[in-house]
Symmetry: C2
Subunit: 259 residues, 2 copies
């Protein structure tokens, strides 16, 4: 049984008791983070996360940490507890071996109207829209669902999306319509270092036909090429050179994290 | 300690253990219902609900039942568990005495852009948008937050809204932008019985200045007059005759439920 962190204690997962009064359970009133462990190095390094890696003997593995914090346990009311109550803090780690074959072949993704709320910049557990849409993609054999809102491509159900067109790397600007992930920021930095022109500007669904390359980014997918989006072939249907260049540099940087 | 229902058993609330793998906790992947007990009669009458009333000695009280069902316990994945797992079923009851003074005085409510997702017709626990907006209203001393989307008034954070204008009772039509509550349906039925013309059509924020009366409906508020909405005085700032007529008939009908 894996050892988890729960409100100050390191305990087996089956001893964790989330209260039915927890606002995370009742209201999706919580936030979360997923952090990758690269055989000896975190992108971020809180003490609890490191303890969990050790307690679960994952020091020399590739692993993932999941952290969730909710507004805590209180009698059900739509307003927030007043006075405030202690937040619920829960974290667990698990071995994670990425599926690199997808990075070689590229993935096909669904394209769908964005039905989410307009505070996508909050990394909340209010994820029903994301799971509904991703599940639909998954059952169709697709690896992600990319959203568009008012015609503009925003991001995926749990990834950001980059598009290469007119010799420029496009991605939706930071706003309330996307969750600007750490990997997204890191890719923009890498593009700068490589002298690749980037443009934080949303493209429209109509512009997809003139896109040469596409890739998604997130903590687990890192840089994964997209070769088809909503039945539209991207470029020649193969991972493109800009994608591979950025992905290669990303890999080189994470390799340096390994202990 | 109150007795609750949890996955087949009637147990004290502090013995209920929601798993940290529960999709309700991780993804807001669940739905809920709130049902009112009128001293001897439910609007709906499932056996579990009645047992909970008895076990908590609330037969002769006014009470409320809360029921939540999530997609169950499964390792965290954005796609739904396959094969399916048993849902988590949780219910509790509590004494509920409505604050009738608000029905006499009427309430003031906030008016705010609807930031929720576009599947408001699903009564899911993905309620962070609702709680964020309601909490803002609550901290301002207001009793509800009414939403508008693209200029059209939709509903409240946990209520439906009715507006009286041009001798007609307006409310947003059933669509993906509102949760069409049981009380809303019941009020439309009562209006028909009373010969009040009703119109399931959304009014705009601009039209509010010509509205004579307004009221919200839900299981706990029943029919509660609104006298001010986003600093716009409704009618003469007092509960209006149509509202009182409908509220009176609603009370008469619920009185018949009492055992």
């Amino acid at each position: 049984m894996e050892t988890t962190y729960f409100n100050g204690n390191y305990i087996p997962k089956d001893e964790v008791r989330i209260s039915p009064d927890d606002r995370g359970f009742l209201f999706a009133d919580g936030v979360y983070e997923v952090i990758r462990w690269y055989q000896g190095g975190y992108f971020e390094l809180p003490a609890i996360a490191l303890n969990l890696i050790r307690l679960n003997h994952l020091e020399h593995e590739n692993a993932m940490l999941y952290l969730q914090i909710t507004r805590g346990e209180a009698r059900r009311t739509h307003y927030f507890p007043h006075p405030e109550v202690d937040p619920t803090v829960y974290a667990f780690v698990f071995p994670f071996v990425p599926d690199n074959s997808l990075r070689d072949s590229g993935i096909k993704v669904m394209l769908k109207e964005d039905i989410r709320w307009s505070r996508c910049d909050v990394k909340s557990v209010s994820l029903l829209a994301n799971t509904l849409c991703f599940d639909e993609a998954y059952r169709s054999g697709l690896k992600e669902c990319i959203f568009h809102r008012n015609g503009f491509i925003t991001e995926g159900s749990h990834s950001n999306i980059f598009l290469v067109a007119e010799k420029c790397l496009y991605t939706h600007p930071e706003s309330n319509f996307i969750l600007s992930g750490i990997t997204r920021k890191n890719v923009l930095k890498i593009a700068r270092e490589l002298g690749i022109r980037s443009c934080e500007e949303a493209l429209t669904v109509d512009q997809l036909s003139s896109v040469n390359e596409a890739f998604i980014t997130n903590t687990s997918a890192e840089v994964t090429p997209v070769i088809e989006m909503g039945c539209i072939l991207i470029g020649n249907g193969k991972p493109g050179p800009v994608t591979n260049l950025i992905g290669g540099k990303f890999d080189a940087e994470t390799a340096l994290l390994k202990g």
